[in-house]
Assembly symmetry: C2
Homo-oligomer: 505 residues x 2
Amino acid sequence: MLAAGLGIGGTPRPPGDSPIPAPGRLGPAALSALTEIVGRANVVDDDIARVAHCRGKSTSDLLRIRGGDVVDAPDAVVLPGSHDEVIGVLTCCAASGIAVVPFGGGTSVVGGLAPEAADFDGMIALDLRRMQELLSVDRASMTATMQPGLRGPQAEALLAGHGLTLGHFPQSFEHASIGGYAATRSSGQASAGYGRFDQMVVGVLLATPTGSWRLGRGPANAAGPDLRQLVLGSEGAFGVITELVLAVREAPSARKYEGWQLPSFTSGVELLRNLAQHDLPPTIVRLSDEVETASGLANATGVGEKTAGACYLLIGFEGTVTEVAAHRDAASGHLSAAGAVRLGGELGDEWLAGRFHGPYLRDALLDAGGFAETVETVSSWADLPALYAAVRSAITSAIPGPVLVLCHISHIYRGGASLYFTVICRQPDDPVAYWDHAKRAITDAILLSGGSVTHHHGIGTVHRPWLAAEIGDVGIRVLAAIKREIDPTGVMNPGVLVARDSVGQ
Amino acid sequence: MLAAGLGIGGTPRPPGDSPIPAPGRLGPAALSALTEIVGRANVVDDDIARVAHCRGKSTSDLLRIRGGDVVDAPDAVVLPGSHDEVIGVLTCCAASGIAVVPFGGGTSVVGGLAPEAADFDGMIALDLRRMQELLSVDRASMTATMQPGLRGPQAEALLAGHGLTLGHFPQSFEHASIGGYAATRSSGQASAGYGRFDQMVVGVLLATPTGSWRLGRGPANAAGPDLRQLVLGSEGAFGVITELVLAVREAPSARKYEGWQLPSFTSGVELLRNLAQHDLPPTIVRLSDEVETASGLANATGVGEKTAGACYLLIGFEGTVTEVAAHRDAASGHLSAAGAVRLGGELGDEWLAGRFHGPYLRDALLDAGGFAETVETVSSWADLPALYAAVRSAITSAIPGPVLVLCHISHIYRGGASLYFTVICRQPDDPVAYWDHAKRAITDAILLSGGSVTHHHGIGTVHRPWLAAEIGDVGIRVLAAIKREIDPTGVMNPGVLVARDSVGQ
């Protein structure tokens, strides 16, 4: 269908030769100073390491790497083993004018790993993979203290040893780190049940170029502004998260995922709103619109093919056997009222098996001469229908040829929900410039229709032009003032989140 | 009992003559400029208005007013009618070096209304009482847009017209304003069920000396740090909250409040932790320790008198009839397991009737030659037992004579709970200095034992010496940097939250 309808095909474009970055800019003095802090084995500047730390995982990032463009590769990769080593590296870099990119799983899709550092005396990727310990578990308070370099599966495996879970499963789960989750306000597939990652952060330790910053006393307090919320979402622009105290839950002993068929996207949206506002959100929810359902990408067994206009809904419940039964029971009245028809458990299991596969399909599509990107936003329930229409319309206007626009909702709140669009089309001649252009028109439409510039991907460099529309001029000035105070030489991820001209650095 | 055990009594101390503040410092030019912005009727500088806006409602505040000390009275009270008028007043004051105290209900107990403004060219109280409209209701998103000057009862009455409620009932409910709730991160008696006030704020508009700041797109997003959390708890130091978009709920159609008797405070704490961590918090919870129970102040029918060492627990459920029944049912197993014995519904009703009376009892006690103050904190469940013991011990050490120390828990979270102590003793010769001294020792003990300096009273000037222990030197620098950026002349509530020497203003 994709090949026929979108004109994808012909000669596949194979990846080019392995790209080689330009020689690193770090002089022997800087390399030696860094080596003294973290040890010889933990300063790496070979081509493979540098290319592996070049940018993130947006489609444009993949296409540029495929095209041999590694101009953003760091000059070296530094692997600290402790908070004190991170402080040492930041102090050294601040004194030497070397830019620092904190690097967790490398899965940013908004340019969060591509700072504007050409005029610095070098740039290092600060890879946190050595800091991967579960430091302690407080069962009474249900918190775990963890290091930032832990990847999703590692963190879950360590917690499983205590019968616990974070319940945070973003699509990037297999690669992304918990430090990255916190730095970007990540939201996982089970956010309806377990909450967003920012809601899990009880305490945080930040290493900055001007000192250590530990925050979090008690689960909540009134000791002035909640400054943890400045660290969450700071995207490496203020410092490096070196420790997190995270709320954990009992690992669920029962899970029940089911597929349902809804008469329309509109009826599904109403259903989700009702569940959220009656405090009955399932642990996991994913409602596909008519096009995503019909495309067969929502589920492999083709709900939409059987019933024109129908929409596929996956809902999952996790907890104890009693809780799962009680929550399913409480939701059932709302499902019936919405005209939902149960499709059986196997569709849920199928989703579970493939829950992290989406990004890999994109690689196959690129190989075949196709193009895929995603757009995500969030708004109040009241604004959601108009926002949905405006984004669909902006996408089809911005992309001249045949284009497939799929949408689903997978994060719901009492006040509103996210919208996640997948855009698939034939690969144009200059896909990077092409998407840049389309992205601008689409994001303008999002802001005009009351949506946020991003529900869970972050700002980075890609979304930065719309940040003033989101947080106002005062907000831009406040972020700049904080950055100047904490990072006076501006070495922390320059240009990411905070525009360099706003901060005068 | 109070009279006999604590030596309270003898000749009651009547309040002194009505105090008269010194003449206002505002010159005719300043008064005329302010009048031009808000109108003649809305600039008031008579003695009664000035004294009514002098400080807040801590016991020291009451004692100083009774003693005729009104040195902190504002030079005038200004009553703006709109966001634009607030912007006008702040711009005028910033240009003229006039300090501004945003004034809602006047119920601060931490010196939040007593800025350090002696060296300014005057000080005005910006009373927001004219801004008291419910601007709009969004039923789909379950939000209400409200003006900051609405008092608790006014806000609830307006929402009740739509079948809605905020569910926010702090002890100051009858006087406090919703702008004040937001500016101080208030937490109400029903926080277990409806959440803290900061969790209700979806959007906020702040008037600052350097412009308007509107925040809040969607219920949650990843557009950098959540800057709403800088406004919440900012205590007037950055600007004036002029509009709030608040999450609302259906007004409950059923309510069930019940008294229970627990074998001990320890068993009660375990019960509350279990309820919170199994996602079964009642809407309202209040667990009194053995002393508060025995004192008869937890309930009028004297649980503790009947059963030595027992503790009184009030729990309340609100919602639909079905919800109340389901939640009571789900909690019942935990109550039985904790050895709780039901005392019957009338004790709950008695609490409901007297829920806002606590502060008024204090006035009667002061009249009778007694002294009462409160201390509150919050910690993780793991730290709570040691914190409880440390605070009790610090209070009895700091107060030489007979002293009654009561404690209850009324705010519970998955990760921990608040502790609220009431201290009652004979009124010493210089009660203000006496409490200052005791407060220092008690607060030192709180910080050393892992507690927060405040769960819901805020920082103001009283708690400011411990803010660095709470948020670190980096936190102090960040708050100062934000203040310098937003309020470069430092006129906004000077010395409240942000120490003047930290900001160089």
